[in-house]
């Protein structure tokens, strides 16, 4: 997959866990290849795992080299109390056991994981740094459905589905992080990491 060897093996392990869960949920009578618009299950696996590996490789180096997979739940431990749970097209970031954000797995979804990492390490300092540097983000709205992640950081001009958050403050934070984009987000992360 041409990323980091550890990240590649993490992505492969996540595929095995995620695809087994998904097929079990449908009694095996759906095609993951068809869901992903691929011609075979092998091609689907390659495509999905490459996408995941590419974004995991964008995490800070000391983080991407120490990721730990929980094969029972398609979850990867990123930092103490920060995990990312993978579905076929979405990733859910959990902090201290609570789902905080759910992002579509478009290129750049690592921003949601880095946002969680920064929040866990520096809390308000992290949120303030993103707010000060982020270009203008979209509107924050609350959906009228029963999803626990009911706040949405809208991104007009970018295709949906946009990232959902647990609270308005979490939606503001992810809106700032996504408007910065992964490379600039990493710069802020490294700045705070250096103290």
């Amino acid at each position: 997959m041409n990323t980091l060897p550890h990240v590649d093996s993490v992505a492969n392990a996540l595929w095995k866990s995620m695809s087994a869960d998904l097929l079990a949920g449908y009694g095996g009578r759906v095609s993951i290849a068809k869901f992903l618009g691929k011609s075979s299950e092998e091609e689907a696996e390659r495509s999905w795992s490459s996408r995941v590996a590419r974004d995991l490789a964008e995490l800070p180096p000391n983080v991407s080299s120490t990721l730990i997979v929980d094969p029972s739940s398609a979850t990867v431990g990123v930092w103490p109390e920060v995990t990312a749970r993978f579905g076929l097209g979405r990733v859910t970031v959990t902090i201290s056991g609570q789902d905080v954000w759910r992002a579509a797995m478009r290129p750049g979804f690592s921003a949601a994981i880095i946002a969680g990492l920064g929040w866990r390490r520096w809390a308000d300092r992290w949120a303030d740094a993103l707010s000060a540097r982020g270009p203008q983000r979209g509107q924050i709205v609350r959906a009228s459905d029963d999803d626990d992640l009911s706040w949405i950081a809208q991104r007009p001009g970018e295709p949906g589905p946009w990232t959902r958050a647990r609270s308005e403050a979490d939606a503001v934070l992810i809106g700032d992080a996504e408007s910065l984009g992964t490379p600039r987000l990493l710069e802020v992360y490294e700045e705070l990491n250096r103290g």
């Binding site: 449908y26 009694g27 009578r29 759906v30 095609s31 068809k34 869901f35 992903l36 618009g37 579905g87 076929l88 097209g89 979405r90 579509a104 797995m105 478009r106 290129p107 709205v141 959906a143 949405i152 809208q154 991104r155 970018e158 295709p159 949906g160 589905p161 946009w162 959902r164």
Partner: protein, 89 residues
Amino acid sequence: MRCDSFVSSSKSPKIANGFTELAIEEGETPGVITMDGLAGGDVMPISRYQYEFEILFQRGTEFEVVSKFQDADGVWRIHLRELPVPGAS
């Protein structure tokens, strides 16, 4: 609007939303199309993937757009109505 290829759809909102969530490649925009169909064929009994609850529409089926909007999540919601074939009973 006229569709010149077969149109595949599902009776299951869960399946339709599943496909929508995966329109995430570069340049893809997710959307859910709700269709009021007249002559779609239920292929579930002969499908390898029975949980898709698939309904196929014949090539050349014509639809009219009833409504179209982008929801709060950024997903397009389009409502189509199949037009009857002139002369068909």
